[in-house]
């Protein structure tokens, strides 16, 4: 195993603020005291790897992976695709991407979700995929509906898909959300608004990608993901034995 160098420090100003009164739950769940900063160690520079044997044939197909008899999930059929790369533009191959989402009516398959919109018997709402050699991934799914949530008196989540990515080191671990081009609820959402740097929020909005859409079948949305990079200079403290 060769030493790829320390992780590039996180730019916290490019991330959401932990404490935001408009997102009420963050008020009691955000640390008040400064984080302790330190250069990464092998504990953060290594991480779990997952093999292709983990992934079932329908794991990245949310239209069919909950269906008992092959009946597709209800909703607008979409391909969600993109690349996972690092801050230096290098692809992140063979990394696990997991997604979860509401159904077309805006309802999650979860005991705590009691929204009026009905469950779709053929839609579970989760999927996973490993990126390929170039860091690419694809999911076939349905476009999730917007939904109301208890926060301020009348808050609605824009259409979104939750995404979890591992990368190759524990310090790269990332959870984020993909929004959809043109959704007027994005600018009204207190969770989206926890990101104060507008260009960073814009990067969570997936554009419609007609080139990748399949005629008479599905539309496509592209969502690229950038994880922390590893700094390689000639002047680093190299890890012993690597």
């Amino acid at each position: 195993m060769s030493d790829l160098g320390p992780l590039v420090p996180r730019r916290r100003d490019m991330h959401p603020v932990p404490f935001d009164p408009d997102y009420k739950t963050s008020v009691t769940r955000s640390p008040r005291w400064p984080l302790l900063s330190m250069e990464s160690t092998p504990s953060e520079e290594t991480g779990p790897r997952f093999g292709h044997s983990l992934i079932g044939p329908l794991d990245n197909n949310l239209i069919l992976n909950w269906s008992k008899d092959g009946t597709p999930a209800i909703g607008e059929r979409i391909l969600m695709h993109g690349r996972v790369m690092d801050e230096f533009g290098r692809p992140v191959p063979h990394t696990l991407v997991e997604i979860w989402q509401a159904n077309a009516g805006g309802r999650y398959r979860h005991v705590k979700d009691t929204y009026f919109a009905p469950l779709d018997p053929n839609f579970g709402g989760c999927g996973r995929a490993l990126t390929d050699e170039q860091g690419r991934y694809q999911f076939l799914t349905i476009r999730p509906g917007a939904y109301p949530w208890p926060n301020r008196a009348n808050d609605w989540r824009p259409m979104h898909i939750h995404i979890s990515v591992f990368g190759h080191s524990f310090g790269q671990r990332l959870i984020t959300q993909m929004y959809f081009e043109g959704d007027p609820l994005i600018d009204r959402c207190p969770i989206a608004a926890t990101i104060k740097e507008r260009s960073q929020l814009d990067r969570l909005v997936a554009p419609l990608d007609m080139a990748m859409s399949r005629p008479l079948d599905f539309l496509a949305y592209k969502f690229d993901i950038v994880l922390r990079g590893r700094r390689q200079t000639m002047f680093e403290n190299k890890l012993e034995g690597m």
């Binding site: 195993m1 992780l7 996180r10 916290r12 490019m14 991330h15 959401p16 603020v17 997102y23 009420k24 739950t25 963050s26 008020v27 009691t28 769940r29 955000s30 640390p31 005291w33 984080l35 302790l36 330190m38 250069e39 160690t41 504990s43 290594t46 779990p48 079932g56 794991d59 992976n65 909950w66 790369m85 801050e87 230096f88 533009g89 997991e98 979860w100 999650y108 398959r109 979860h110 705590k112 579970g124 709402g125 989760c126 996973r128 979890s164 524990f170 671990r173 959870i175 984020t176 959300q177 969770i191 926890t194 990101i195 929020l201 990067r203 950038v226 994880l227 922390r228 403290n237 890890l239």
Partner: protein
């Protein structure tokens, strides 16, 4: 004008939300039929070398409430200080585990092996520790911290020694409660706020 940098900026984090379990541990969330089993169910397999330990704790918000929707992940070395995938690492130590606060009690449990010492990049030995990552509704960027052990020699640990307020060091110490049993509570706020890491 200057030359332009061609580096990219990391994608912004967002909260995992209240239904993070659907995506990460769907069987736990009641979606049993999607995958054969949830990812990261076991940090170790039977026969892993070293001292087998169980760590239990709560994740506590600023009001003192142990909330029920936290998702945690751990990553650690084996008993000899090697990570899964490295040469000579114990093949029975996965090193990675994913677990959740209990829906009724808020308690989480991690069964694993006590890790060995791992060096920093400049060759200093770190005391045995488990890296911990916490995601939940209301946490906009997931939290990193570490579990150290009160019954180990932690005096030379480079990270612990960076903590200026020495009264905060115990927030990173798993307390021994019995043979092979430890307690580690995570406080998001308050006088005993856990030291969280930017690392």
């Amino acid at each position: 004008m200057v030359q332009s940098l061609d580096t990219l900026v990391e994608t912004a984090s967002q909260t995992g939300g209240p239904y993070v379990h659907i995506g990460c541990i769907p069987t736990f969330a009641g979606l049993g039929a999607v995958y054969p089993e949830d990812l990261g169910l076991r940090a170790i397999e039977d026969g892993a070398k070293g001292e087998i330990i169980t760590i239990t704790g709560e994740v506590i918000d600023g009001t003192g409430w142990a909330f029920r929707d936290a998702l945690l992940e751990s990553w650690q070395a084996d008993a000899s200080g090697k990570f899964a995938g490295q040469e000579g690492a114990d093949p029975l130590v996965n090193g990675f585990a994913r677990f959740a606060a209990d829906k009724e009690t808020g308690l989480w449990t991690l069964r694993t092996v006590k890790p060995g010492k791992v060096k920093t990049r400049d060759g200093r030995l770190q005391a045995p520790h488990i890296s911990l990552w916490i995601a939940a509704r209301g946490i906009n960027i997931s939290l990193h911290t570490r579990i150290y052990f009160e019954d180990e020699d932690n005096s030379e640990d480079p990270l612990l020694n960076r903590i200026e307020q020495r009264n905060r060091v115990p927030t990173l110490m798993a307390k021994k409660t019995g043979a092979g049993e430890y307690r580690f509570d995570i406080h998001l706020q308050g006088a005993s706020e856990t030291v969280f890491l930017d690392i």
